[in-house]
Symmetry: C2
Subunit: 312 residues, 2 copies
Amino acid sequence: MVTIGVDIGGTKIAAGAVDGRGEIIDRITRDTPGTDSDSVMTAIVEVIRTLQEEHAVTAVGVAPAGFVSSDRSRMLFSPNLALTGVAIRERVMKDVGCAVVVENDANAAGWAEYRFGAGRDTTNMVMLTIGTGLGGAVIANNTLIRGAFGVAGELGHLRLVPDGRPCNCGQFGCWERYASGTALEQIAQSGAVSQVERAGALLERADGVPHRITGHDVTYLADAGDEYCRELIATLGRWIGEGIAMVASILDPGQVVVGGGVAAAGELLLEPARTRYDELLSARSERPHLEICEATLGNDAGIVGAADLARH
Amino acid sequence: MVTIGVDIGGTKIAAGAVDGRGEIIDRITRDTPGTDSDSVMTAIVEVIRTLQEEHAVTAVGVAPAGFVSSDRSRMLFSPNLALTGVAIRERVMKDVGCAVVVENDANAAGWAEYRFGAGRDTTNMVMLTIGTGLGGAVIANNTLIRGAFGVAGELGHLRLVPDGRPCNCGQFGCWERYASGTALEQIAQSGAVSQVERAGALLERADGVPHRITGHDVTYLADAGDEYCRELIATLGRWIGEGIAMVASILDPGQVVVGGGVAAAGELLLEPARTRYDELLSARSERPHLEICEATLGNDAGIVGAADLARH
């Protein structure tokens, strides 16, 4: 049985026809129109219809970035997409003629890792998607936890540091401000000003201009062995572990799966995360410890998860 | 159908025969033997047998304070009870001759409020039991969340303040150190030293000796209108709200139910909690807000919840 999954981010719309084992058998990607909700909706429907021409599908899963209402019909809030307030399920359903399920993009990615990826043997899992921001998903008792209002798993906005770095959500000290591609970029750029002698390779890649340094530059050089960039990744990793210890006292997951672009740093990121988690875990000698591991589905997780949620 | 629930705390063992509507139809209470696990186990079995003499029961729920293993058979860790490591389910089952379910005491209390108390109309609820410490329980998607290792909902050990007040769990800044009867006692005692002129009524109740002030003195005087004690309760309330905002970004519950001895302060405690939660909630204008309310089952929650969990 084939279903379609559509991952709708601020820059790209990626859709796939997915079989019952979570394999993407066909896919299509296009840029996200940035202007108004009608263009975004039209683009979503177009990618679905294109896939429908080749595949007989029974259901479609749509996974936009942002808050989805608890009845999964409507976008409550989507700061990076022109969809706030849009009755997205009805709009898509009208045009594609089959069942439509809407789910937050990070939740869809977490569901995919739980069903087919790194978390497929667990019953209680947390997914962290570390890209530009930090997205989260919570699976407990084999169920995706959506909360009373549909916005559970907003782990990027867990407060890590009281009165800490300001966040776009209006608060201070959110986890996302310390553990994301944006955070990595910021600490790399500041470091290139304050520790010029150590940031030579980084500055060279950025034509000597600190604010041109990207997160990708850091992961690239860390992978190539640059000591300073490895330390920057380790700093990010420690913040990841710090938040995981907090999540563990609430949810006690067996596994935390780390995905998103920054997760490509692999053990350079995860080893410091494990150490910091271990240091901060409450009653740590009296309880089994969770596993922190890398996601296995990469950028496909949103598509696969949305398609699988539509199937069920 | 009648089942038995047993709430096992560090000072008291309280057991009840409970009907299918959550009503306690018979009860028995005794002191907890503090010495060794055999005496504690004997006491537990005795209260169950006494109730069994009068009531034909199909199952027994046992709710000890501490970490219960994920298969709910064994105590992983019970710092206030001589039960660490005890195979409690098997031991009780052998002696009482019916099905036995073991559940952490705070989880049992939360389950009772969800089934029969303040949370009976909700699907996603968090319970805070604020007594000597701060116990928690998480209900999501109508299910009690136990986690991968059985220790989910240890909300008292959510880190609120990095490098904050030291906690018995080995960490610093745990929520319990700021929002519990013990915390109330501590801020009242320090306040009675540093702000003698405002703490007159408190000191009078404690024969002029700051370290004799109890949490109960504070709630009593607050209830009687003492301005300084009301401020102390409000301080506790703000810490409660601060943690609730953090829990909300992970779980998005519809309701937070506050029980335990300190909850008797009612609105003096809950109103500041609501205000602080509201100040700290991420993207607060873009989402529905949860309700913070008082528990309705009082000290019976542990018995009722344990009995109901045994029934299911």
